[in-house]
């Protein structure tokens, strides 16, 4: 039986006599548009668009931002319109928190795209990084602060084991010295899953590492020497390709540098570590003009060779480490929003499902045997 109000008290929603009746059957244009944008069918369309966007990115291997940006912007609008127009959110706090968390995730992902940085660097042992990356990509609103910090690769060790008949990489330990943008300085050990956090940037060691012959170069007519390192391809994955082309500073003639390792670095029957070989030779080859023979020199540490543009001295062999540097300041917020979304979703389903028993036949809970 519906509740009937006592005489003289108007029913809820019915204006007393003499008051104009609001036209609740025709919502205004803004509300109509919002309701259209809040459509659950639109959500389904956006899910399909996101699916297509992912497949485009996956198969074209490009960072085609709009393929994901459009559906994510769509989700943000769809979810916001849903929260604004659907009265269920005023009754169900869990559902409201879930949708707000989803809106936050969409916004945080957008902010991340605008402000991220991702780059690669390589540092020889003893070398200091002061802002110059090998390659780098960043969002249009990223304020680059890499030049304000310093990172020195002091030394590193990488252990190797034999597993399943193959050489496998084990622990990486890299000692680095750093100076933060605010002037603080210190030493840290990074490697494996331990990055260095510096001025909002994260520096990770990578699988990319190898050897680098160090040369001293004096250009003809110059008063001072220049020191340079030639990074050879990653070791041991490119064990048989330990060569690289290099043009000494100020020279016009590139030379080929080849490292010949004359001892075993890794042992087939016991754990090893990546170390600079004591027995090795660096081969320097100069490509001669057409018709002439190439010139070739085998150098040991301390040996020099006269090239047409200057004198090249091989000093020593060191190791280099490849690093990945990234900047994503939204990370902790993204994690918080994601956890909040999943918790509120769990809370919502818990309440919804608890209202009706899981067991459709509650009278048949005993195990039958016939």
């Amino acid at each position: 039986m519906p509740d009937i109000p006592p005489p003289g008290i108007p029913s809820p929603g019915i204006p007393p006599p003499g008051f104009p009746s609001p036209d609740i059957s025709k919502p205004n244009t803004v509300v109509r548009v919002l309701r259209l944008l809040a459509s659950l069918k639109l959500t389904l369309v956006l899910i399909i668009m996101l699916l297509i966007g992912i497949l485009i990115i996956y198969y074209t291997r490009t960072r085609f931002v709009w393929a994901l940006a459009i559906p994510f912007i769509g989700f943000a609008i769809n979810l916001t319109a849903t929260v604004l127009t659907n009265p269920v959110f005023r009754r169900q706090m869990a559902l409201l928190v879930f949708h707000l968390a989803l809106i936050s995730i969409a916004l945080l992902i957008a902010i991340d795209w605008l402000t991220y940085l991702k780059g690669q660097i390589e540092l020889v042992e003893g070398e200091t990084f002061s802002g110059q990356t090998l390659s780098e990509e960043s969002g249009p609103l990223h304020r680059r602060k890499l030049n304000n910090l310093q990172l020195t690769n002091e030394s590193f060790t990488i252990n190797y084991i034999i597993a399943d008949g193959q050489l496998r990489r084990a622990d990486t330990s890299n000692q680095v010295e750093w100076v933060a943008p605010d002037g603080r300085s210190g030493r840290s050990i990074i490697g494996n899953q331990e990055p260095l956090l510096l001025g909002g940037y994260r520096f990770y060691t990578t699988n990319n590492k190898g050897f680098a012959p160090i040369f001293r170069w004096r250009l003809n007519g110059a008063d001072t020497d220049k020191i340079g390192a030639v990074h050879l391809p990653s070791f041991p994955i490119q064990l048989l390709q330990q060569k690289n082309e290099w043009t000494p500073p100020g020279s016009t003639m590139p030379v080929w540098i080849l490292l010949q390792i004359e001892e075993e670095i890794f042992f087939p029957d016991k754990p090893s570590n990546l170390r600079v070989p004591d027995k090795h030779t660096v081969v320097v080859r100069l490509n001669a003009p057409q018709g002439d023979n190439d010139q070739r020199w085998e150098l040991k540490p301390g040996d020099s060779v006269r090239l047409p543009d200057g004198v090249l001295t091989y000093q020593e062999l060191r190791k280099w480490m490849g690093y990945e540097v990234s900047y994503n300041f939204t990370l902790p917020w993204l994690l918080t929003a994601s956890v909040l979304a999943v918790l509120s979703m769990g809370w919502h389903f818990w309440r919804k499902f608890a209202a009706r028993p899981w067991n459709p036949n509650s009278g048949e809970s005993k195990l039958g045997e016939s």
Partner: protein, 271 residues
Amino acid sequence: MELQILWAALIMYVLAGSLSIISFVMQRKPERTILAFLVLGVVLHTTAIALRWERMGHGPYITMFEALSSGIWNLLLVYTLVYWRIPAIRATAAIVTPILFLMMGWMMLFPPSEVGHKPVVYHTIWLYIHIGFAKAFISTVFIAVGISGIILSRRTEYGEIRFAHLPNDSRLDDLSFRFMAVAMIFQTLMLITGAIWAQDAWGRYWDWDPLETWAFITWLLVIFSLHLRHTYKTAPRTGALLVISVFIMAFVVFFGVPFVSTDFHQGVGRS
């Protein structure tokens, strides 16, 4: 020793599965016996996995043999618990056990003696949490598959007679929706913990590697199917087909990746 215990566990599973199929055909209900076989099988299987873990020094997730063995284990652990607590799903044993038989046969194609290698990036607690949620996800979908199998088989006269004693399609559809909703929560947690692990291990929380991409597509498919069922109030048959398509997708992603990549995630084992 652990291998003999594993074979004993598989025999228990086969007995439980065979009995459930026979009882389906004969219209009997030896539920207590089936549950006993399932519990015994899970206990033996747990022992075999624990012994191997102790001997190898790593969990059951390095080689394909281990991945399939632990996959069968978690499907049956969750299934046995639900079989015990929710009578409506007990009839699904005749539908889901053939899937397990196929997995067991597939597992036997791989040598149990293979040692495998545990990469450095696996030395983190997040790996166990990530894998735990992945297993909880697929196990929950597995139960929904059984329920969907009943809904679909009721389209035939034979299935309608055999499953006549069960709740109606609408109620079963609601039950499968619940399991899929729970599965979606587990899968979301799997993606979040995977991103945390990836950030630690490789310096990026997302990189569109094959497993990440296809796991995310599977998640979208789960979201899509739940949303579609909620928005259009789809018929039980449509819901059942959606559940089965999610399971096929998830199964291919979880167990198919080792065929295209030697590591579960790209770059894990690089030297």
